[in-house]
Structure formats: C-alpha cells, structure tokens
Amino acid sequence: MLKLIRNCLLFVLVVFVTDKAFILVKNTAPEMVQDKRLNDLFEGKINKDLIILGSSRGQADIATWMLEDSLGMSAFNLSFGGSDIEWHLFVLKCLLEKAGPPKVIIKVLDDSFELTNAKVNGFRVDLLYPLVKYSEALEQLIERGEKNRLLSKLLITHQLSKNAYDMRTPPALNDTVLFYGAFPAPAHAQIKEKDKKIDNQIIIYDSSTELPQKKRAFQQFQDVLRENNIKVFYVIPPSYKPLNHKFTERMRAVVIPGSPLFAYDDKDPNYSCDAFFHDPVHMNRTGAEYFTKDLIRFMKKSLTTEE
C-alpha cells in the first residue's frame, strides 16, 4: 500500500511539474488575441473621458472618432459583440477599478434583447478564456462555474483549457479594431435583399419576458454609475425594422429618472435607407456616422443644459 501511495504521489508531482510548463502558453495567449481591448482594460490602459458600452450595435453603430472630435473628450468604445448587460457591468467595474471613472458613459441599448433572454447576447466568457493571465478574467470564470477554484490554483492547464489555444478571432462583420476601440462595418457593405424582409413580430415587447438577473444587473449598473457620479446617455441605435416604441417606453421607465435617453428619429427617411445598413440590425460606416451626428447634437444639448 505504501508503495502505491508513494508512486501515486510521485506521479501527481510529475503531472504538477509538467503542468507548470504551460505558463508559457498562459503568458503568450493574451498576446495572440486580435482584439486587445480587454487586455488594455485589465492593464488599466483605458483611461478616457467617454466610454461606450454595448453589444455589436454599440461596436458598429457609434462612430467613436466623431464623438472625440465633436465633444472634445477622449473617447473609447468598449462594446463587445454578443454581450449583455451582465457583461457590460463587469466591464464597467473593471474599468473603475483599473483606470478610475470616466466622465461620461454611453450605454447602447439592444432593441428587445436588453433585459430579455436572447440567444445572441450573453456573458462573453469565451473572450476571457485566453486572458486567464489576468486575475480579473480568471476570477470571473471561477465565479461563473467555468473553472474550479481549487484546480485553478493547482493546475495551469485547468486555467487555460482548450479555449486558450484558439489564437484566431472568428471573422467579424466589421473591420479590425480601430484606435478608438470601434469596429465600423465598411461603408460599401450594404444590407442584402434577403435580409430586408421586416418581421413585424419583433416590434412587440413583453416586459414579462424580462429576466430577473438581467434586471438586477441593469439596476446595479445604474447604481455603480450613480455612486461614481458618471453621466450616462442611453442610446437606442437604428435598425432596419421599425423602431420598437414599446421597448423605448420600457427603457425610459427603468433608467435613472432624468437620464437622457436618445432613440433615433424613425421619421427620418434616411434610417430606412439601404445604403446605411450592413444587415437588419447593424449600420455600416456611413450609417454610423450619420447616426452619430444626431447623437452628438443630442449630447451637446444635454451637456450644455446641465452646465
């Protein structure tokens, strides 16, 4: 029996030592990621006056470079495709911890999906897998049950798992990340004929389908903004289908009272123009710039009134 225990312990030691060689992968994986905004976030390098938080619509529809020029504020887009409010809260908390509070946050609201269950939006754990070098990423993976705390302390291979070896970012609808963190879709990318069909069912909004955890996260998100005295603008960007007024009303009811909420003007014929859209829910660069001009006017007015 003693021989068995001794050999087992020796084998565990061999595995343990071999595992440590994977520190090379752990340190290299973050460098291989194409979109390095999270790396910069965890390293406290994103220190800007204005931050944009949202999903792919925040990535594509807000022309961050225009905000910077027009508002005279340094701006950065921290929107992530497929992300939900819980993810935005996580990003916001990391930002505050690592770089301090920005002056202004633009929170892009995802039409219909903001508080409800949607397959397309979620907490982007996959973006954290290659970044376990950063304690924020690892801790979040542990909290979400993706990793075991004890095993993570013992084994680097457990921290990494196979996902860390995915050195390729899947091709996105947009170009590469710009200096401002934005992902504009090329101006020439236009909505396809087959995508033009408008599904009227989508414009119905039923608040009973909202998820408690998303509502909680939305509330916490606003609490954090209030505690840190951050000015917030809620934005509903255009989509090819008609504006969901019920959703807009619902959002007006749940945001901090008096917070500016900007929804695009659905009477403006340009917002149903094919040349502005890359697909039914994302604008291309031309559309994004047109919409951002409107947004800037709204923001300027709001900021001036406050002053």
């Binding site: 029996m1 021989k3 068995l4 050999n7 087992c8 084998f11 061999v14 595995v15 071999t18 595992d19 049950g145 993706e146 075991n148 004890l150 095993l151 084994l155 291979t157 457990h158 990494l160 798992s161 196979k162 996902n163 070896y165 995915d166 390729r168 899947p170």
Partner: protein, 483 residues
C-alpha cells in the same frame, strides 16, 4: 455522483484508503463498508432512489429464499412471476409508461380520434435498467436451480448496489460477482495499479473523446438540414466515437475501480470498432447486456435449436428487445431492427461465428482484407447509430436522405464549430492507436509500456492526464445513464 466529477475524485480515494486501511480486518467489515459507500454514491443523485433500490433488492432477496425453500414447482413459478412483476413493473412505470401512453394516443389519431395521453411526471431513477437486469438474473438463476440464494442480506444488498457498476454496468451475473463478496479481499499492488491505468483510460475516453465529440454531434444532428453530405457523414462518425468513448469509458472506470477494491468485473467492451462483421461487433459491444439477452431471452426462446426460421425470429426478438431496453422511443426499436437485418445475411450463410478470434492476432497492421472488413463494419454500425442518436424516425431518415442527396462539400466542419473545438481530433487517432496496440488485452493500457522504462510509461500517462484537464468541459452525464 458522476465518475468524471470532482466529487468522485475526492470520494474514491477516501473510500479506497478506508477500505484497505480501516475496514480490511474482516470480510463483514469490508462488505458493510461497500454497502454503505454504494448507497452514499447512489443517494448522491437523489436519496429517494435509495428507497427504490432497497425495495427491489429486498423483494428479490425474500422471493429467492422462498423459491429455493419450496419444492412445489407451481409455487416456485409464482415466486418467479412475483419477482419479474415487481422488477419489470418498476421499470415499466418509471421508464416506459409515458412511451406506451403517448404511442397509444398517437395510434388513435390514425382513426381520426384525438386522445390526450395520460403521462406521469416522474424522473427516471439512474441506472434502473442495469440493476433491474442484475437482480433479475439472480432470481431467474435461483429459479433454474443454477444458483443457491444467499442467506446474507447485507451481501445481497451490496451485490445489487456495488457502486462501480451500479448505474451503467457491466451488468454482473450473481454467479460471477456474488461469490466475490464471500471471499475476503486482499490488497494487491499490481491489481491496484492496473485498476488505476484502466480508470485513466476510461476518463480519457469519456472526458476527452466523448465530451468533445458531443457538441459537434449535437450541432450537426440538431441542424442537419443546414449541412451537406460530408458534414453529416462526419457527424455520424463523431457520434460513433462519442457513444463508444462515453459507454466504454464508463465501463473502464467501473472495472478499474472494482479491481482496486479487489473485485473482478466482466469485460464489457472488447474493441468493437475493430470488428470484421456485425456479428463480431455484437460479441464485442456491451458484452454483459448481449450475453444477458442470450442467456435469458434467446436461449429460453429456443435459440438456434429450432431450425433456421426460429433462429431468425429469436435473433429479431433479442435485437428489438435490446433496442427497447435502450430507451422508450421508436428510434431505439428501429435501431435494434436494423441491426437484426444486418445480422441476417451472416446468419443465413452460417458465417455469424466466423470471426471469433482477435483481428490480426499479434500482427502490428491488419491485412488489406481485414482493413476493408473493419471499415465496412464501422460504416454499417455508424449508419445504425444515426437512428440511435436522432430525435425521431423522420429526423433519422431525413439525415440519411441528405447524406445521399446533397453535395458533399457545400459546407465544412468549420461551419459547425470553431477550429479550437477540433483540436482534440488527433487524440481520437491516439485512442485508436492505443486500442489497436492493446487489442489482445482486457483494456488498452493493460500491458502497454510495461517493459518500457518508467519515464516512457509515465510520459504516456502524463499526456493522458493533462489532456483530461485541458480538454475537459463542465461535467457531462454519461449517455447510458438515461437507459
């Protein structure tokens, strides 16, 4: 408690150490300890399951005793029917009631009548099909006077609930396993190390192979209309490896854990994908179930003694019953029937026992003929797995139709999953190589590298161990738990 969980990784070493260091003083202590930890293991899922297994075990224990004591054949038969009624009744209620109810209602729709099926909202107790068959074999053997019933209820309860093989087999016969509870087990270093090697291999098959095939298979089968023939063929092949890795992996862990506790369990899989025909495949796949059906269904029905037609009928019966045993769905019954059809030509030409040896013997590579036979058998088996995996018969037929009617290369596997999810594919080849090298042994790592220096042997074990960590996802249940 799942074998591939952290709970089991803590549970088993503690059980192992207590078993050999504290409870090894007497046979009684060893058996009571086995019973306690087996009930703990099973109750980990749901303590209410324990009531069911205890009830079923007590009935069989008492019935067998009364049956043995009786000299009246009529009353012995009554006791046998009582045992069959209780065991199959429980299985029927928990596993098949909703199926029969829904099928009955569906049949009425054919006559233009709409019936709302009455269904039960009950959960299927894990492993009920396995331990039911184990206890049935006990009472049937006692009835046939092939086995003396045990007088020790603790031993009987431990035999039924022996945790390594309780929830997904191997389905042990009382004549093989029960006597082992009457012999005091002595610690053996060699047996323990061999058990560890088999557990490692089982975990590799389950965690690395089966669990990494699963998301690809699910994506392809759930959206088969979106993919071209090539991807659908790959989906069927991945499922073949998933079901093998899942089930034989479980058996490996069960047999390895049993061996570490001093028990010898039946080999359940003997490298079935190296079979040269369907008959050989069925002698090598889920051996404990196939032999159960042979002994308790096929032979009582007359086996091959009543002429060709009776033999054919009996073969169809056991394949259909075997399919139905796997689950309450027409897909499983069809799967059983399809296997019977594939078996038929061999039976009619008296070639069903042609390949009873190990393919290629001690040769390193198969002959061209053997390789062709293996590939053909694997292809046929993979086709039958489509029915096993599909949600319903129309999906299975639709899946096969798309393989045959769509372009092969319209879509690629990269349309199904991200490249990272294909990183484990070289490890499927590693599994095939390890199994081919170890095909003459009870399990792939039994003799592999025993003559090598420790560094080489441990190198293989380290690669397998680290791949478990790297390729593990959240704990996934074993497919066969649902049966």
């Amino acid at each position: 408690m799942l074998f591939n969980s952290l709970d089991f990784a803590i549970f088993f070493p503690i059980v192992f150490l207590l078993y050999w260091l504290v409870f090894n003083k007497s046979l009684g202590a060893q058996n009571i300890f086995i019973l306690m930890v087996s009930y703990l293991f099973y109750g980990w899922w749901d303590w209410r399951f324990l009531l069911l297994i205890a009830f079923s075990s007590c009935i069989d224990f008492l019935v067998s005793k009364r049956m043995d004591a009786s000299t009246n054949e009529r009353s012995r038969k009554h006791f046998l029917w009582l045992s069959l009624g209780v065991n199959l009744g429980l299985l029927g209620v928990f596993k098949y009631f909703n199926f029969f109810s829904e099928s009955f209602a569906q049949a009425f729709t054919l006559f233009g009548q709409q019936l709302d099926p009455f269904t039960l909202k009950i959960i299927l107790p894990v492993g009920i099909s396995f331990y039911t068959f184990q206890t049935l074999s006990y009472t049937i053997d006692v009835y046939r006077r092939r086995l003396k019933p045990t007088d020790d209820i603790l031993i009987f309860l431990a035999f039924v609930s022996f945790f390594p093989q309780l929830v997904a087999g191997p389905i042990e016969r009382a004549k093989d396993l029960l006597p082992q509870f009457y012999q005091k087990r002595e610690f053996s270093y060699t047996a323990s190390v061999d058990g560890l090697r088999q557990i490692l291999m089982g975990l590799f098959k389950k965690v690395v192979i089966a669990d990494n095939c699963a998301p690809i298979v699910n994506q392809i089968f759930d959206n088969y209309t979106d993919y071209s023939g090539g991807v659908l063929i790959l989906g069927a092949i991945f499922f073949a490896f998933q079901i093998y890795g899942d089930f034989s992996g479980y058996s490996d862990i069960a047999i390895g854990a049993g061996r570490m506790l001093g028990f010898q369990l039946t080999q359940n899989f003997a490298y079935p994908y190296f079979s040269r025909d369907i008959a050989e495949f069925w002698r090598r796949w889920h051996i404990s179930l196939s032999s159960w059906f042979k002994d308790y269904v096929y032979i009582p029905l007359g086996g091959s003694k009543g002429g060709k037609w009776m033999n054919i009928r009996n073969v169809f019966i056991i394949f259909l019953v075997s399919g139905f045993w796997h689950g309450a769905n027409w897909t499983f019954i069809f799967w059983g029937g399809l296997n019977a059809l594939l078996f038929l030509p061999l039976l009619l030409s008296n070639r069903n026992r042609k390949n009873t040896d190990v393919v290629s013997g001690d040769r390193m590579l198969p002959s061209f003929r053997e390789a062709f036979q293996i590939a053909l058998t694997f292809t046929l088996v993979s086709i039958t797995w489509i029915f096993f995996r599909a949600d319903d018969l129309s999906s299975a037929i639709g899946y096969l139709q798309r393989i045959l009617t769509t372009s092969f290369f319209e879509s690629s596997l990269l349309d199904v999953v991200k490249p990272v999810n294909l990183l484990f594919i070289p490890l499927i080849f590693l599994l095939v190589v390890l199994e081919w090298v170890g095909k003459n042994d009870q399990h792939a790592l039994e003799t592999l590298g025993l003559t090598w220096p420790r560094i080489g042997r441990w190198g293989v074990y380290t690669v397998l161990s680290l791949s478990l960590v790297i390729f593990s996802s959240n704990e996934q249940e074993f497919i066969y738990f649902q049966f």
